[in-house]
């Protein structure tokens, strides 16, 4: 078990180092001089040169990489070119919105998808299964911004249960903050749940045909107990894989929903930074997301080992 975990950990660390090199290299070859960008069109060549020296842009490549990577480790991402504030402050604000949103959406999607998948698989081919899978087809097909608008109309405009958009900040109280995140989380969770339910269903159907399910039935366990105790855990590996992918998406791929609900999340920050050529912010967020994806994959690998003893190797 420890050997498996250690190996995964080392691989994850190496991937992270490699990824940081790629991100740094890409930013190096992109056109555009940050010093010139900061000083504006009217700056003289001398002024630019002075600033370049100040920013350390004239140092050798390897040194600059080490400086940058060292900064990352101490959470010093540098200063935003456009706002002239530390990047970490910008990012921290946005993560405070994006991370809880992603977690709530992921939890919702799992809570909906697993029971639907189990329900469908246990009634394979019958009316309930057809209905549930039809609904999930719809869930995959409906664009989430449209669904988000419907949610706003129903719960915010009509029932007035939650605000229609914006984020009051965590200082306004946990309840107020959660209230403004719940609709976007539902809008994000639904299509994810639809996909996850389909994956769970097909994984379960495959497992239910295995010989050991018959052995469990021959023990006298009722069908339902066999399903939950024997089949579900074996069907978990593909479900966990999809969950990992979905979490990575939910963390940064939510720009449309952020816009619909006017939420200050990571997605909108990246979008703004790209349009304003604020490369250091882009670079930092990309690096952050890379780290997040690697961490999530590591967690998924660990959870595989928890689910399936064959992956742990001999104790």
């Amino acid at each position: 078990m420890t050997a498996y975990l250690l190996k995964r950990l080392v691989i994850a660390a190496l991937t992270l180092v490699l990824a940081s090199m790629v991100v740094f290299a890409v930013m190096e070859v992109l056109p555009g001089d940050p010093a010139r960008l900061m000083l504006g069109l009217n700056a003289t060549a001398d002024q630019v040169e002075v600033l370049r020296n100040q920013m350390g842009l004239n140092a050798p490549l390897a040194l600059r990489y080490l400086h940058w990577a060292g900064g990352l480790l101490s959470l010093d991402f540098g200063r935003s070119y456009t706002y002239s504030v530390p990047v970490i402050d910008l990012v921290r604000e946005r993560i405070a919105v994006s991370l809880p949103l992603a977690l709530i959406a992921l939890a919702l999607s799992t809570i909906i998808a697993i029971p639907v998948g189990v329900f469908s698989a246990s009634r394979q081919g019958r009316a309930g299964d057809t209905l549930a899978m039809g609904a999930s087809q719809l869930g995959v097909a409906v664009p989430n911004f449209w669904f988000a608008l419907m949610l706003i109309y129903l719960f915010a405009v009509w029932l007035r249960l939650v605000p229609a958009g914006g984020f009051p900040g965590w200082n306004a109280g946990i309840w107020a903050a959660l209230k403004s995140l719940i609709l976007p989380a539902i809008a994000l969770a639904l299509p994810q749940a639809a996909i996850l339910a389909r994956v769970a269903r097909s994984a379960l159907i495959e497992v239910l045909n295995e010989d050991y399910i018959r052995t469990a039935r021959a023990k006298g366990l009722p069908y339902r107990a066999v399903l939950w105790r024997h089949a579900l855990r074996n069907a978990m590996i593909p479900v966990l894989t999809i969950l990992g992918l979905q979490f990575a998406f939910l963390l940064a791929g939510t720009i449309i929903i952020e816009n619909v609900f006017y939420l200050p999340g990571l997605g909108r920050l990246i979008f703004q930074a790209i349009t304003q050529r604020d490369l250091i912010v882009v670079e930092s967020i990309v690096m952050l997301l890379v780290a997040a994806v690697i961490l999530i994959n590591l967690l998924v690998d660990f959870s595989y080992a928890i689910v399936d003893p064959r992956l742990r190797g001999r104790q």
Partner: protein
């Protein structure tokens, strides 16, 4: 009074009739054998008793267990019976256990479910039954996972699950078919003891007449969903009143005619294997020390002469398939040389192996898995033709395929069919046709008949014998089945833990085994003659 009584049982799945008027009775402490070929409805009979039939199945008639009408029982009543009063053991031990749960959990689960015992008590009882089936605590703690056990050990766990609550009836569906003969004998002994200890009724389902004869007091023979004959084992098999019984018995003991038997030392060897070793990397125990290798094949030497038939026998995992792969140049030896027609094939590049590959073909065990289901027979059988020096034209190709099909007893019209249109026996004929189309000098056959029913197996053995006589093909038969070795081989090699421990004329080795390994194999192998004789004594 009967414990289990099946009267006029008919079963349909959708519109397809599976069972027709099946009758069977079983008393406490009695062993009844249910014999038949694949598709005869043996397993469906068992699943009817368990009420674990597939979705669209419909059973009519009467099945009474201990006074309960099973066909009318509710699912709750069945759950109470399954695993408590009726246990069941299945054919495939490798997949019969849940891979993510410990053996302790899996054995204790049924105990807890039926007796409402607490975890500690259930685990204690699980421990006892695991000890009883031969998995002592020191080597097999409850915390073991199925993948840490071998096939035979896993089958013991399945038996422990089925017998944990001392059922009145145990149904064993081909419990030893996937195991080698030595393990088979151990598992059968265990079942016999459990029957005796608990006065348990045992319904033993098998296609192997010899196994059933050794075990069963009475037997029921099933063919195409109907009972053809039933009665005391000894009488049924000695009198053989029904022609099908006779057919089965003959097929089980079939020895194909090979009038021209081979004389050893009569020719220059076709294949020479010298001091061949194959190591596999072992499991690393420390980060700093290299792992000690596992030696799968250890210093093996053998020769095969033209037209000679050699059997390589041994228990599962003894290295015989690894050796075969190296002979076929599908794997490289760690040390030693293999020469085919005087030329070394070890360490040669793929292109240089072409002539050797052409003259050396292979037949695998599983006639279902060894064909691409999306290709027609013509293309499948013609596959090895790319090894020829001169590529045949389209018409020549079809002629060659038709000829090969004719030689294995199939017609030219079969060329345009797909593999799924053939039965298991016909598919094995197809793989033989594919193997002989290049006129090879040597055919390596890895368990070629062990997936086939006895009557089909007799036909395939005849075919092998005929091709050997007619075309002078030499064989290397790899098998754990001694009846195949006896029927087919001139010479026999016994392999044990990677080494050849005994060699000689097949009949000598089988009748007077010298090494421990050969003795174990011979004494464990079920033999129909011997079994009938013993039954006759017991049952008068």
């Amino acid at each position: 009074m009967s414990l289990l009584e099946i009267e006029n049982l008919s079963l349909k799945i959708g519109a397809t009739p599976i069972l027709k008027g099946v009758e069977l009775a079983l008393s406490p402490g009695e062993v009844v054998g249910l014999v038949g070929e694949s598709g005869s409805g043996k397993s469906m009979t068992a699943l009817t008793i368990m009420q674990l039939l597939p979705h669209l199945a419909r059973a009519d008639g009467r099945v009474t267990f201990d006074g309960i009408d099973l066909l009318a029982a509710t699912e709750d009543q069945m759950c109470a019976l399954r695993g408590d009063d009726i246990g069941m053991v299945f054919q495939e031990p490798m997949t019969a256990l849940n891979p993510v749960k410990t053996i302790g959990e899996q054995v204790a689960e049924g105990i807890r479910w039926h007796t409402k015992a607490g975890r500690a008590e259930a685990e204690e009882r699980a421990r006892k039954i695991l000890d009883r089936v031969g998995l002592p605590e020191a080597k097999f703690p409850l915390s073991r996972y199925p993948h840490e056990l071998s096939g035979g050990q896993r089958q013991r766990v399945v038996i422990a699950i089925a017998c944990a609550l001392k059922p009145k009836l145990l149904i064993a569906d081909e419990p030893t078919t996937a195991l080698d003969v030595v393990l088979q004998a151990q598992i059968l002994d265990l079942l016999r003891d459990l029957v005796r200890e608990n006065r348990m009724g045992l319904l033993l389902i098998s296609h192997d007449l010899a196994v059933v004869t050794e075990m069963a007091d009475r037997l029921t023979i099933l063919r195409r969903g109907e009972v053809t004959e039933a009665g005391d084992t000894a009488r049924t098999l000695s009198e053989q009143q029904h022609p099908y019984t006779r057919e089965l018995a003959l097929a089980s003991m079939h020895v194909p005619a090979r009038p021209k038997s081979h004389l050893a030392g009569s020719a220059k060897p076709l294949l020479e294997v010298e001091g061949v070793v194959r190591d596999y990397p072992g499991r690393r125990t420390s980060l700093f020390r290299p792992a000690p290798p596992i030696r799968a094949v250890d210093d093996v030497s053998l020769t095969i002469e033209p037209a000679q038939s050699v059997a390589l026998v041994g228990r599962s995992g003894c290295g015989k398939s690894t050796l075969a792969r190296m002979i076929l140049a599908l794997d490289k030896p760690t040390a030693g040389t293999i020469r085919f027609r005087g030329e070394a094939i070890t360490g040669k590049p793929e292109q240089a192996l072409k002539p050797a590959r052409r003259d050396m073909q292979v037949v695998f065990q599983d006639p279902y898995g060894s064909f691409d289901p999306r290709q027609k027979v013509e293309k499948l059988v013609a596959e090895p033709l790319h090894l020829l020096e001169k590529q045949p034209t389209g018409t020549e190709r079809r002629e060659m395929v038709a000829h090969a099909l004719h030689e294995v007893g199939l017609g030219p019209r079969d060329m345009d069919k797909y593999p799924h249109e053939f039965s298991g026996g016909q598919r094995q004929r197809l793989s033989i046709a594919r193997a002989i189309i290049t006129r090879p000098k040597l055919v390596v056959a890895d368990e070629p008949v062990s997936a086939l029913d006895v009557s089909i197996r007799a036909q395939i053995l005849d075919l092998f014998a005929e091709l050997n006589q007619k075309l002078g093909i030499a064989y290397l038969f790899i098998t754990h089945d001694l009846t195949v070795a006896r029927a087919m081989a001139d010479e026999m090699l016994v392999m044990h833990e990677g080494r050849i421990v005994e060699r000689g004329r097949a009949s000598d080795v089988l009748d007077h085994p010298q090494s421990e390994a050969a003795k174990a194999l011979v004494s464990a192998a079920p033999d129909l003659h011997r079994a009938i004789a013993r039954r006759m004594q017991e049952q008068g």
